[in-house]
Amino acid sequence: MDVTVEVNGLRKRFGATRALDDMTFTVRPGVVTGFVGPNGAGKSTTMRIVVGLDRPDAGSALVGGVAYRTLKRPLTHVGALLDAAALQPGRTARNHLLWLAHSQGIGARRVDEVIGLVGLEPAARRRAGGYSLGMRQRLGIAAALLGDPPVLLFDEPFNGLDPEGIGWIRGLLRSLAAGGRAVLVSSHLMGELQDVAGHLIVAGRGRVVADRDVAGLIAAASDGRVTLRTTAREDAMEALARAGATVTVTGSDTLTVSGLPGAATVAALTAAGVPFAEVGAHRATLEEAYMELTRESVEFR
């Protein structure tokens, strides 16, 4: 294991559209790397370049230090789910995996194994044309896992999945990373990566806007803020403002306080005789952290 993906200075134009403009980042093993950004940020193009489907105009994408195109049995190095809809509708899921397996010299036993891994056994011998989007995602993931590769790329794997499916994928992604694999997961919705991504690459307009580790990011976004629950919202806001804090209303009985430590907040409220139920350190969601990060670049909201 311990294979990294290095994306270095990728540039790519499609006609007049600039899809990638100096895209640079590294995907490390042992952690799920979230690849986020709005549609059109260049996430899919970057992934297609990594697996050799598109050629960059400039820059390089290396898997374990070598170009994907030079790999002998590439699916044993990199597994990718790029387009779950790319199936021959008349072919069964098992046969779809079988031809992929044969192209890598992998046997039918592994095919049945990955079918089990993604929970497609009951439908494996049905034509893929009748599959729901969720089943296609599972089939696409099975295809990516076929060669048991140390690097996995998933482009929008949560699309079309029900909450149960989303939970399942999160678990799968975590366990893949825990096994030492480098896992890159793209999404245009931050919330999907909550509690999964250990590292975040934010892309916009074909380049990396932010490349941070998630724990630090959330800590930074939560930094010094206090969550307060109180029934006397107006009084509390007045008292805290007098003490020099900035107060944001986040719910009918919750406030977020910044600029005033927790102890000072409690003291201020007590002094003003404002009742409160709970005071605690605020923990930002990934969504909030993302907003924080991208506040300045309005262009890609």
Partner: protein
């Protein structure tokens, strides 16, 4: 390459539509051919009922024409005959442009000369040295072999042991040996004259080709006749004469001792289109089956583009070079196997159906029959590869199917349905991938036969494997171009 082949084969066999398409190709190829064969009925009503005349078979097994005027003696062992041909004249009935007169004239392949022949049976072995109407002096033997030998009027044929030596001379003193052939045992030796009909081809008023074959005869004048080793008296036979034939075609001999004059009509040559139905008639379904083959070949690659599956294929084989060749091998192997089944069923059963309907079949060697069957399967396979390559280049099913049909089927149909003039048809069958249909031609066109050797009648301008090579070249070029573009293009 092996994993790729296996992968592509798995792809092919797991899509029901492609397997079905391949079966349809087999059924169309065999079925249409058999229907055609079942519908080919020949009737020869005559005084003896529906009895068709036997077509003579030459020593090489081919159907032959063997009709000539023969003035001969027996040749028990060694011997020789020497003559000087001092005159060749003849009659042509109703030639162009008016087609309204009987005129003096000699057709290019009228023949007068000396001959040693096994016996008087039509189709028996022979060697002859002759003067022709317009092709100079020649030596021919056993119907198919033909050698040009200048323009000398002196002819000699010598048998020593079982070797027959043909020689010519400008003056009767200095002889040039032209040929050496073998004919053992008792034989006949003598003078002969024969003249094939005068052939013209015209465009029919409703399209199509109208061929006309007008009766001719030739009269040869022989002097300085020397015969050695012959036995018995001089006898005249009109070999192959049919009762009730026009008087102009009846052979005759006049012997003044030092001069002999011989008149005859007919031909000693491969039979051409008169030699019976050709075996490839049972394979007419190949052109229809080809459409199914083309559709399957194109879809095998365009379906991947349509579904976006090409991305998965190329991610699995990022080197890309082997992908299309592997696909080509799979589709070619499937098509070849199917074509072989179809042709191996259609030819024997079709021939039986045709024989049952009174048709004479132009005999061919087993090797030729195998070549026609295997070649038809190979032609289908190569066309499938061409279709696949065009599919990969266009990435669109409809455009690729239409282009392949325009390249392969359209020229073939235009050329053989005789909707265009014969020279244009021949160029089409030289330059387009339709040239490969030549692989089906079982009876070659012989230059020494003035025949209707035009595509409309099943004669291709290129030899069987030569024509097939043209189709292969197209397929190889298209495949190479497709491989290069696949490597260059983003998936």
């Amino acid at each position: 390459m092996i994993p790729l082949l296996r992968s592509e084969w798995t792809k092919f066999r797991t899509v029901r539509g492609w397997i079905a398409g391949s079966i349809v190709a087999i059924l169309l190829t065999a079925g249409v051919g058999l229907l055609g064969a079942a519908g080919t009925v020949r009737s020869c009503e005559g005084p003896q009922g529906n009895v068709c005349p036997e077509i003579p078979i030459g020593p090489g097994g081919q159907a032959v024409s063997d009709r000539f005027s023969f003035y001969h003696r027996a040749l028990p062992g060694d011997g020789a005959i020497t003559v000087k041909v001092t005159g060749v004249s003849g009659v042509i009935t109703y030639p162009p442009p008016g087609h309204d007169q009987i005129v003096p004239g000699v057709v290019p392949w009228a023949k007068v000369g000396v001959m040693v022949k096994r016996d008087l049976t039509q189709g028996s072995a022979y060697t002859a040295v002759m003067v022709t109407g317009d092709h100079g002096t020649r030596v021919q033997d056993d119907f198919v072999n033909d050698l040009a030998a200048g323009r000398d009027p002196w002819l000699r044929l010598t048998r020593t042991g079982d070797v027959l030596t043909g020689a010519t001379s400008p003056d009767g003193t200095s002889w040039r040996t032209v040929s050496s052939t073998r004919l053992a045992g008792p034989a006949v030796i003598g003078l002969f004259a024969t003249s094939p009909c005068d052939v013209t081809l015209g465009q029919g008023s409703l399209g199509g080709v109208v061929g006309a074959c007008r009766l001719t005869n030739v009269t040869g004048k022989f002097e300085h006749i020397g015969v050695e080793g012959a036995a018995g008296p001089w006898t005249h036979d009109d070999v192959g004469a049919e009762p009730g034939a026009p008087s102009l075609s009846v052979g005759s001999a006049r012997d003044w001792g030092s001069t002999i004059q011989l008149t005859g009509s007919g031909d000693i040559a491969p039979a051409g289109i008169d030699g019976g139905a050709v075996i490839e008639r049972t394979l007419s379904g190949a052109t229809i089956g080809l459409i199914a083959v083309i559709v399957v070949g194109v879809l095998f690659v365009t379906a991947e583009y349509r579904r976006g599956l090409i991305g998965a294929t190329l991610a699995a084989s990022p080197g890309r070079t082997g992908v299309l060749p592997a696909k080509a091998v799979v589709v070619a192997a499937v098509t070849f196997a199917g074509g072989l089944v179809a042709a191996a069923v259609a030819v024997p059963i079709g021939l039986r159906l045709m024989r049952d309907r009174n048709n004479a079949i132009a005999p061919v060697t087993t090797l030729t029959e195998v070549r026609v069957i295997v070649g038809t399967a190979a032609l289908l396979a190569v066309t499938a590869v061409l279709a696949l390559a065009l599919g990969a280049l266009f990435r669109r099913s409809a455009a690729a199917v239409i282009t392949t049909i325009m390249l392969v089927l359209l020229p073939q149909l235009l050329a053989t349905a005789s909707v265009i003039p014969a020279p244009a048809a021949e160029w089409l069958l030289r330059l387009t991938p339709a040239a490969g249909f030549a692989i089906q031609q079982s009876i070659p066109a012989y230059p020494q036969v003035e025949d209707y050797s035009i595509p409309a009648l099943g004669y291709y301008p290129l030899p069987p494997w030569g024509g097939f090579a043209v189709t292969c070249l197209y397929a190889a070029a298209a495949l190479a171009a497709a491989v290069v573009t696949l490597r260059r293009r983003d998936a």
